[in-house]
């Protein structure tokens, strides 16, 4: 297809670089510098989409990110579709494939358009009033139907192959928007020596200057002045220029988020480049220069393809050399549309008529059109359009002094350009938590007082006309710089010729002479909300603008009401007979325009999603074929299956090996805190339930830590290395939490104590060696420590060397066997491990993982915090009243242990559970009941916390928390399984070596 609607010359496209692309599978040609929208228009295409509810044919209506209709899906490869891209923002590249959306089977013939025939039924909120009978039909019939009709584009189906980057930046002045105001602000700030970031959502900086053919700045054409200004900024190394970058989120304390689109416009992007980048900017001052958005006119059939905003028509013509049509009707309430008319006429387009709502249009813009020979009709309104998939003619009407309308006949056209005036774009100001204020003169909401270090410049706060906008921009830039640097300079503001402010504008539905029951004038194009819908909502009692929005869905489409809000508000205001400010305004939220999820997630994926913590012995475990489990950020070896072994087999073998011989276990991940200072013992005495004042040097003690509510929060072994130095261990997952908890009390409650905490978790690699042969295995490697039980009994610690490496050697056991935990400097962990492993292997020992550790400790009735306890458990519940220092006056959580419902009878207590059938292994989490089949809603007595096959017992075993458990020894209770309840006997939680002789041997 040829570019029939391309001008013969002009625009910022590169006519020497043709670009081939497809739309809905059909090949088209455009030029480098085209957007998808401009290229389609140049090819005479207006019909590009279908609306959300009625599936009405829709055309390109804007030239910017506010586009509600021209949404397309683009996929570089299958499964990588990006839906809902706005055609005016899509830069074409060689080979681009774009698809229209929300139509089946094709854009020109869409079966969903049957909804349009049913539109008399499908009014605002109709779905709240029906689809209720029969009940089951909602989910089976109605909802699936609604869901498939709704939605716009198709979601991608395959994992995204692109990468996304993040960048944190700081600057003195962030300028958002690079039109005349933004460019002026950035220039002024940069001239004052400030660090400046200037961003703009468009591919090219310059904003409206890029399509302004009538103004001159300092004697230069506006576009040349812009180019010079941009060049000067780009040569300043304190200035960062960011095209294709949307300032989308204004957060507290001048934190602004920008989304930069790095590669989407490239035909063959370098794979080393990220697709998009999130800029997280902290700016000392922000200048918002986001311009104004032209308002549609609300007249019947205003949604026909070919109907477009007047300024968009000018942008496509002047910037892209694309004509909206060859015979154009212009409908306006505002002077700026006359500029479009003049430019179109100059380009050879037949401008049939300018239909102006105002009775006597006048002024420089009007004069220019008049002298160009364009027909101008005052008090003239468009009352409808004709044409199926593209406008063929416009009905015109004369507005009489009484407000009624009489028909003026039809005007043939292939495009209708409209302007209802301009709405200052206050989104980012509003996001900054500023309160917009209604300005009756401007007929618009404008930014009120600044809440943050922010100022608006140009038309986004109601300043129009190029000279005024530039002055405003320079002043904003200068003042922003002045706020951060004393060296601010007063800039010289250039003189403008042309570019005068255009007056006029209207809000809300226009009068017409048509049957109101039969015609629809759209306010929100994408969501198909009409003026009638807004009136219906008001009639039904929805009077708050938030209610109207939610009931009609106006302003909830992907343009977030950028085109529709003011018209909806005006219709609501008139229907309610209340002035606009009393109706309210819906809240502007982040993001300004939609932002890719990947841009928020940035680099967090796979192993970079969360740090993966591995111990110095991790690779050894991998070599040995270990399976791993995630425990907080750590990867822990779970079990070490030999070839052909199931998990059950491997764990049974590992358990038996530890009990009979010796096992080696990587305990590095346990949290470690060095507690040092003259008051170290006193401090520990306050934070653990156990007494610590009298713990001897060289001794270990198991401690329980409560939160102030009395519930167990962590446990661990504490070693007294020296009089004023303790080595504290915590659970793996609890380490950061415990350290923060201890620092909290130390800094806030007891700043008088001379004690300090230092995390040493990663200073030490920890090798646990457990089993009857543990001492024999390590003895040959240890220097300077007498390992005999007499000299180094159970629960003691010594310093010395192992394999020539300094060590803190703990004699302790979490398995019930005699054993050691060897702490060595982390970088030496692997070599010591290898040496110990050689000896372990030599005596028939084995490595074991966390699962075996869990089984062995359960056989001993030792709890695991987080498994036997769940944040609602006090020490007595798990049979550890012995660990609570009765003579202590106070410790964290002590007072809470005396609360009525903590000392009450009937609390759940830790017990052992043996199934009557020794082969049955209960599920952890299974519930315990008094009867096999209790009546529904009978509260359970408790639940199984831990359950394993015990090779030591040759049968299954479990731990459980059961109401009054210690009073139920020997009772038969029932535990639920997937197949039904099984009978169990309640027993002591200590299954193995109840006397404890083995671990002290």
């Amino acid at each position: 297809m040829t570019q029939d609607f391309r001008t013969s010359a002009g625009g910022r496209i590169d006519r020497s670089s043709p670009v081939d692309f497809t739309f809905d599978g059909k090949a088209y040609r455009g030029f480098a510098g085209d957007t998808l929208a401009s290229a389609l228009l140049a090819n005479g295409i207006h019909l590009v989409g279908r609306s959300y509810k009625y599936h009405r044919p829709r055309g390109i209506i804007t030239a910017g990110s506010e586009e509600p209709n021209a949404l397309v899906g683009i996929a570089r490869e299958k499964g990588q579709n990006t839906p809902n891209l706005r055609a005016p923002q899509v830069e074409i590249y060689q080979g681009l494939n774009a698809e229209s959306q929300n139509r089946y089977p094709s854009l020109s013939f869409d079966v969903g358009a049957v909804n349009d025939l049913l539109s008399p039924l499908f009014v605002a909120g109709f779905y709240y009033k029906t689809f209720m009978w029969p009940r089951s039909f909602w989910q089976k019939v109605y909802e699936p139907f609604i869901r498939s009709a709704a939605g716009l584009g198709k979601a991608p189906t395959d994992p995204d192959k692109d990468r996304y980057a993040n960048h944190y930046a700081h600057c003195d002045v962030l300028v958002i928007g690079s039109g005349p105001a933004g460019l002026a602000a950035a220039t002024a700030a940069a001239q004052s020596g400030a660090r400046v970031i200037l961003c703009d959502e468009q591919s090219e900086l310059g904003g409206s200057l890029l399509h302004d053919r009538t103004s001159a700045v300092d004697g230069k054409p506006a576009v040349d002045w812009a180019a010079d200004a941009i060049r000067a900024l780009s040569e300043n190394d304190k200035v960062t220029l960011l095209p294709r970058t949307t300032g989308f989120g204004y957060y507290a304390q001048n934190f602004v988020a920008l989304a930069e689109r790095v590669t989407d416009h490239l035909a063959n992007p370098d794979p080393r480049l990220p697709r998009e980048r999130l800029w997280q900017v902290r700016a000392k001052e922000v200048v918002i220069a986001t311009g104004a958005i032209e308002r549609p006119l609300v007249f019947p059939e205003n949604d026909r393809p070919g109907v477009m905003m007047a300024e968009a028509g000018r942008i496509y013509l002047n910037r892209y050399g694309a004509m909206a049509g060859k015979r154009v009707v212009i409908a306006t309430a505002c002077d700026t549309a006359y500029r479009t008319a003049v430019d179109l006429k100059a380009a050879g387009v037949d401008v049939a008529v300018i239909a102006d709502l105002r009775p006597d249009p006048a002024g420089v813009h009007v004069d220019a059109a008049r002298s160009a020979g364009i027909r101008i009709e005052g008090a003239c309104v468009v009352t409808g359009t004709k044409g199926r998939l593209r406008v063929k003619s416009a009905r015109l009407g004369r507005i009489r002094p009484d407000g009624s309308v009489t028909a003026m006949g039809e005007e043939a056209c292939d495009s209708l350009l409209m302007s209802g005036g301009w709405t200052p774009n206050v989104s980012l100001y509003s996001q900054s938590r500023g309160k917009v204020a209604w300005d009756e003169d401007a007929g618009a909401y404008l930014p009120g007082a600044s809440v943050q270090h922010e100022r608006s410049a140009g038309s986004c706060h109601g300043v129009f006309g190029l000279q005024a906008v530039l002055e405003d921009g320079y002043a904003a830039g200068e003042n922003a710089a002045r706020a951060v640097t004393s060296a601010a300079k007063r800039p010289k503001v250039p003189a403008v010729t042309g570019g005068e402010e255009g007056a006029g504008g209207t809000l809300g539905a226009l009068p017409h002479d048509r049957d109101p029951a039969r015609v629809r004038a759209f306010i929100d194009f994408q969501n198909d909300v009409t003026a009638k819908d807004v009136k219906l909502a008001v009639r039904e009692g929805f009077h708050s603008i938030e209610h109207i929005k939610r009931y009609t869905t106006t302003g909830m489409a992907t343009d977030q009401g950028r085109l529709s809000n003011m018209n909806a508000l005006s219709v609501a205001s008139k229907t309610l007979e209340k002035p606009i400010p009393q109706v309210g305004l819906t809240t502007f939220r982040q993001p300004y325009t939609p932002v890719t999820f990947g841009t928020f997630a940035t680099t967090a994926r796979g192993e970079a999603f969360d740090p993966v913590r591995r111990t110095p012995m991790h690779d050894w475990a991998v070599e040995k074929g270990a399976e791993f489990e995630d425990v907080s950020l750590w990867k822990r070896a779970w079990y070490f299956p030999k070839p052909g072994e199931s998990m059950h087999d491997a764990v049974a073998r590992e358990c038996a090996t530890v009990r009979e011989s010796v096992g080696i276990f990587d305990a590095t991940t346990l949290g470690k805190i060095e507690v040092v200072g003259p008051d170290a013992a006193e401090f520990l005495n306050r934070v653990y339930t156990n007494p610590f004042l009298k713990l001897g040097v060289g001794r270990l003690r198991y401690g329980i830590m409560l939160n102030e509510a009395g519930f167990i929060m962590d446990d661990g072994v504490v070693g007294r290395i020296a009089e004023e130095r303790f080595h504290v261990t915590t659970t793996t997952g609890g380490a950061p939490r415990v350290l923060a908890h201890l620092e909290d009390y130390l800094q806030t409650e007891w700043p008088d104590l001379n004690v300090w905490l230092t995390s040493t978790t990663e200073q030490w690699a920890v090798i646990a060696v457990q089993g009857p042969k543990a001492r024999d295995v390590i003895a040959p490697l240890v220097e300077g420590i007498d390992l005999s039980t007499e000299s180094m009994p159970h629960m003691s610690v010594r310093e010395g060397k192992i394999c020539g490496v300094p060590t803190r050697l703990f004699r302790m056991s979490f398995t019930g066997e005699a054993g050691y935990e060897i702490n060595v400097p982390a970088s030496r962990g692997r070599e010591v491990w290898d040496a110990v492993w050689n000896n372990v292997e030599a005596v028939g020992g084995a490595p074991y993982g966390t699962e075996t550790m869990h089984v062995l400790r359960a056989e001993k009735g030792y709890i695991i915090v987080g498994q036997e306890t769940d944040g609602t458990v006090v020490p007595d519940d798990v049979g550890m009243d012995w660990a609570v220092g009765k003579k202590k006056a106070d410790f964290i959580g002590m007072r809470s242990l005396a609360r009525p419902d903590i000392v009450v009878a009937g609390r759940k207590q830790l017990v052992g559970v043996l199934t009557n059938d020794p082969k049955v292994i209960l599920e952890e989490g299974a519930q315990v009941t008094a009867e096999a089949s209790p009546a529904l809603k009978t509260p359970a007595l408790g639940y199984v916390t831990s359950s394993y096959y015990s090779s030591a017992l040759g049968r299954s075993m479990a731990l459980a928390m059961i109401a009054d458990g210690r009073g139920r020894m020997g009772d038969t209770l029932y535990v639920s399984t997937a197949e039904g309840a099984v009978a169990v006997e309640i027993v002591s939680p200590v299954f193995y070596d109840a006397e404890g002789g083995k671990q002290v041997a």
Partner: protein, 188 residues
């Protein structure tokens, strides 16, 4: 740029990132001590290592083969280029006499990277939310902060050279993200 730094690239390891404008290398092992206590303790410790401990927030001091970093109002990290951590620990600990303090050997807890080149700050800003303008983050400044989701200590050794320390298990995460961010520096 200081003539000498306690940090030097580990000659046994190949660089982690090399582009025309930035280089990331792992630093050679060091003795690191965490000192907690008051100014008296700091004074004793400074004397024993030959460099007065910095009392100004976020500053550092240098000496021959030693450096001291302010990490908190009662916390310093001392780095010494010497082989035997135990010996250094004993020497400093002995110098403390009866001053209340806590001295802990954390030599093995951290690993360090040296990030250098004109794009060093840019690279760090891919994951660190700090302003590296020299007026804000001058040479010699040291701070703990976050690199993505990892806690780090960051020191500016010179305009274009930064030292980043992290707990050892977090270092692969830091390295992966530095490599990731550096990829586009090689792109056209």
């Amino acid at each position: 740029m200081p003539e000498k730094s306690v940090y030097s690239a580990n000659a046994h390891l190949s660089p982690i990132v090399v582009t025309s404008n930035v280089r990331v290398e792992e630093a050679a092992p060091l003795v690191r001590l965490s000192l907690r206590g008051g100014e008296a303790a700091a004074s004793h410790a400074g004397a024993s290592i030959g460099a007065p401990l910095p009392l100004e927030p976020l500053t550092s001091t240098m000496a021959d083969k030693a450096a001291a970093f302010w990490l908190g109002p009662d916390e310093w990290q001392i780095a010494i280029q010497e082989g035997d951590a135990t010996a250094v620990f004993e020497r400093v600990e002995t110098a403390m006499a009866d001053t209340p303090h806590s001295l802990v050997d954390v030599s093995e807890r951290n690993r360090a990277l040296i990030i250098s080149g004109p794009k060093a700050a840019w690279l760090l800003n891919s994951q660190i939310f700090l302003d590296f303008d020299e007026a804000v983050f001058p040479v010699g400044m040291v701070t703990r902060t976050l690199f993505g989701k990892a806690d780090i200590m960051l020191w500016r050794q010179s305009e274009d050279i930064f030292v980043l320390e992290a707990w050892r298990s977090f270092m692969p995460y830091v390295i992966e993200l530095l490599q990731e961010a550096s990829r586009e520096l090689e792109a056209a």
